[in-house]
Subunit: 371 residues, 2 copies
C-alpha cells in the first residue's frame, strides 16, 4: 500500500493562508436571520408563497449579517482546470488534451459556460491549477485567465496518492486567493466551476471517502460512458480507495490521495468566500465533492454555499444529502464548467431582490388574509 | 340546474378573432427541429449534457421554424387580473378588494412579480380583464396598464355559469389581442401571469373538468388555507361541477361555466403567441388550467408553451401531466402573478443562447470523445 503523508495539516500551522481563512469563518448571524424571516412575513404575498426562495433569502441575510441582504451582484464564475493521472486507467472516452483545449474554448467564448455566464451577466475567470499539457492561450489577460498550476495534473491514484499534502494545500490556497481577489475587486457572488477530463472519477472517490458510500453507488457515467466502462470505472475507484485508504476525518488527506487539483481549489474558493461572507453557488458533483472537503475543514462554510443544481451524477445527490443542501435546479445537466451554478444565479438574485424591494402590507395598502 | 348556453362556439364563426387565430396556428417545423437536434450534437459538450435545456432549445427552433432559434428576448410579463363570484362561498381568507389593491401594488412596483421581472429584464403589463372593484390607479399609462374589463368579476359558479359564452370569448380575445400587440412592439417571449382572489378555486374546477380528476385531487390550499377551509373548498368545486356539468369537449363552455376571466385571457394569450410562433412561459395552476383550454381549442398551441415551474397546487401537476409539459423550476412556489414564469425566463434564454452561440467541435479545435 502506498504511504500517505501523515504530517500535521497546514490548517494547524496558525500562520498559513488556509489556517487564517478557516479561523476567519464565523457562524451565521442569527439576529439577521430572524429579522429576514420576520420581514418575509410582512411582504405583499401569502406567507411562504415563494417557497424555497424565501429560505434562500433568509440564508443570505444570515450570511451577510444584515437584513435585507446585499444583492449577490456582480457575480463571477471561476473555472478551475486540471488533469488527472487516473486517465491512464481508461475511465473516460475523451483524450486528456481536451482539458487544455476546453480552456482555450472558454477563452475564445465558445463553451456552454460562456453562453450561460453571458446570459446571467456574470464575468468568467479561468484558472489553470493543474492542466497536464501546455495551454494554447498564452495571450489571455489576467482578468480572464490565470496560470496557477500547482503541478501538471495529478498522479494516477490507483498507483499511490494523487498528490502530496503540500500540493493539496497549495491548490486550496489558490482557491482561497482567487476568492479574495475577486471579492476585493467587487464580486458579491462567486460561482464554482471546473474543467478536467476524468474529474468525475476523482469526485466519486472523494464522495465515497467522505460519505462512506460504496463506489458503485457514488460512481456515475460522467460525460456518458457505456455499461462496461462504468463497471471498470467503479473498480478503478474501488482500487484507489483500497490502496490509499483516505480517512474522512482528514479532508486534506482525502484530497491528496484521491482528489484533484481543481477539487482542492474549489474547496479553497468556498472557504475564501465564506471567510468574507460572500455566497458561493455550487455546480455539480465536482464542486459538491469539494464542498464536502470545505465543510469538513470549516463546517460554518456551509452557510455561504448554495446548491445551484442537482446533476445527473449519482455522487452529487449523495454529496448534497450529506451536506443538507437543496438544489435550485434539477434538469438533468451533467456538464460542469459552472453551468448549473450560472443557471441558478438569477434565482439567487431574484430571491434577494424580493426581500430587498417588495412592499409590505402596511406600506402598500393591501389587506391581509385572515388565515 | 342552471342552463349553460349551447350556441355554436365563435371558433366556428370564421370571421372572429378567435377563429382566425386558431386557424393561424401551424404545426411545429420538423426540419428546423431536426437541424437543431443535429446541431446540439456538434456543440463543444458531451452529447445530452445540458439535459432538458437541449430539448427546450430544439422546441424553440421547431416553434420558430429556424435553427438556431431567435433569442427569446425582449420578454414581457402579462398579468391578467379579475375577480370571482365564488368568493361569496368563503373559499379564501382574503377580501375580494385585494385583487384591485394588488393591481395598484404591481403598478407601484411593490409586488414579487415586479422584483422578478426586473431581475429577468422583462417588462410588465397589467391588464384588468374583470376586477370587481374600481381600481385605485387611473393614471397608469397604457404601456403598463390596460383596462379591458369584460365584466366586473364572474358570477358565483355554485349558483350558475360564471359568465356567458360571449363573455368568455371576449376575454379570450383580450388575451389574443394582448399577445398581438406585445409581439408587434417587439416582444419575443411572453410570460403568463394572473391576479385574482379565489382563482385557484376556478382553476381546480377547470382542471377537474378538463382532466376528469376528482375535485379532492384537483383542489389545493391556494394562498394557504386550513384543513376545514380546504374541505369546504373541495365541496364548493364539486357543487359547481355538479350544477354546471362542464364538458371537456367544449372548452369555451368549461371557461364560461366554471372558469375565470383571467383564465380566458390567459388561454387567449397562449393562442395569440402560438399564432405568431413566439414562446409563452406558463406560470402555475391558473395558467396551467388556461393552457388546458388553449390546447383543447388548438392542440398545436402547445408547441409555444414552456412550463416555467411546478407550483405547490396539486391541480397544477395534473394539468402539466395532462399537457405533457415538464416544468423548469420546482421550488414550492404558490404565488402566481407570473413569478414562476419570470424565474424560468433566464433558463429559456440560456438554452437558446447555448444553441446559438456555442462553438462546434470542429471550429473550436476540441477533440471529440470516442464513446
Amino acid at each position: 500500500m502506498a504511504q500517505p503523508a501523515h504530517s500535521s495539516t497546514p490548517a494547524r500551522q496558525e500562520d498559513s493562508l488556509l489556517a487564517r481563512t478557516v479561523a476567519a469563518i464565523r457562524p451565521p448571524d442569527e439576529t439577521a436571520r430572524a429579522r429576514a424571516y420576520e420581514r418575509q412575513g410582512r411582504l405583499t404575498k401569502p406567507a411562504g408563497s415563494l417557497g424555497a426562495l424565501e429560505d434562500l433569502a433568509v440564508q443570505l441575510a444570515a450570511l451577510a449579517g444584515v437584513c435585507p441582504p446585499p444583492m449577490p451582484d456582480p457575480a463571477a464564475v471561476v473555472v478551475f482546470a486540471a488533469d488527472h493521472g487516473v486517465h491512464a486507467q481508461a475511465v473516460s472516452p475523451w483524450p486528456q488534451e481536451v482539458t487544455g483545449q476546453m480552456v482555450a474554448n472558454f477563452l475564445a467564448g465558445g463553451a456552454a459556460i460562456n453562453a450561460f455566464a453571458t446570459q446571467a451577466g456574470a464575468r468568467l475567470l479561468v484558472v489553470d491549477v493543474g492542466v497536464a499539457h501546455p495551454l494554447p492561450c498564452p495571450t489571455a489577460d489576467s482578468s480572464r485567465f490565470r496560470d496557477q498550476r500547482v503541478r501538471a495534473g495529478t498522479a494516477d491514484m490507483t498507483c499511490g496518492p494523487a498528490m502530496t499534502r503540500a500540493e493539496a494545500v497549495a491548490a486550496i490556497e489558490v482557491g482561497i486567493q482567487t476568492a479574495a481577489d475577486l471579492t476585493a475587486s467587487g464580486a458579491r457572488c462567486l460561482l464554482a466551476g471546473d474543467m478536467g477530463i476524468c474529474n468525475t472519477t476523482a469526485s466519486s472517490a472523494m464522495v465515497a471517502a467522505m460519505t462512506g458510500a460504496d463506489p458503485s453507488v457514488a460512481t456515475g457515467r460522467g460525460t456518458g460512458i457505456d455499461e462496461d466502462t462504468w463497471r471498470h470505472k467503479v473498480e478503478v475507484v474501488r482500487a484507489a480507495l483500497d490502496l490509499n485508504r483516505p480517512n474522512p476525518a482528514d479532508p486534506i488527506g482525502v484530497l491528496a490521495t484521491v482528489g484533484g487539483l481543481e477539487h482542492a481549489a474549489l474547496a479553497g474558493l468556498i472557504l475564501g468566500a465564506a471567510a468574507v461572507r460572500v455566497p458561493v453557488i455550487l455546480d455539480g458533483v465536482i464542486t459538491g465533492s469539494a464542498a464536502l472537503i470545505a465543510a469538513a475543514l470549516a463546517p460554518e462554510s456551509l452557510t455561504a454555499c448554495l446548491a445551484g443544481h442537482r446533476s445527473a451524477e449519482p455522487g452529487h445527490a449523495l454529496a448534497l444529502q450529506h451536506l443538507g443542501l437543496r438544489p435550485l435546479i434539477d434538469l438533468g445537466l451533467r456538464l460542469g464548467e459552472g453551468t448549473g451554478a450560472a443557471l441558478a444565479l438569477p434565482l439567487v438574485q431574484a430571491a434577494a431582490r424580493a426581500l430587498r424591494e417588495m412592499a409590505t402590507f402596511d406600506t402598500a395598502g393591501v389587506a391581509e388574509g385572515s388565515a
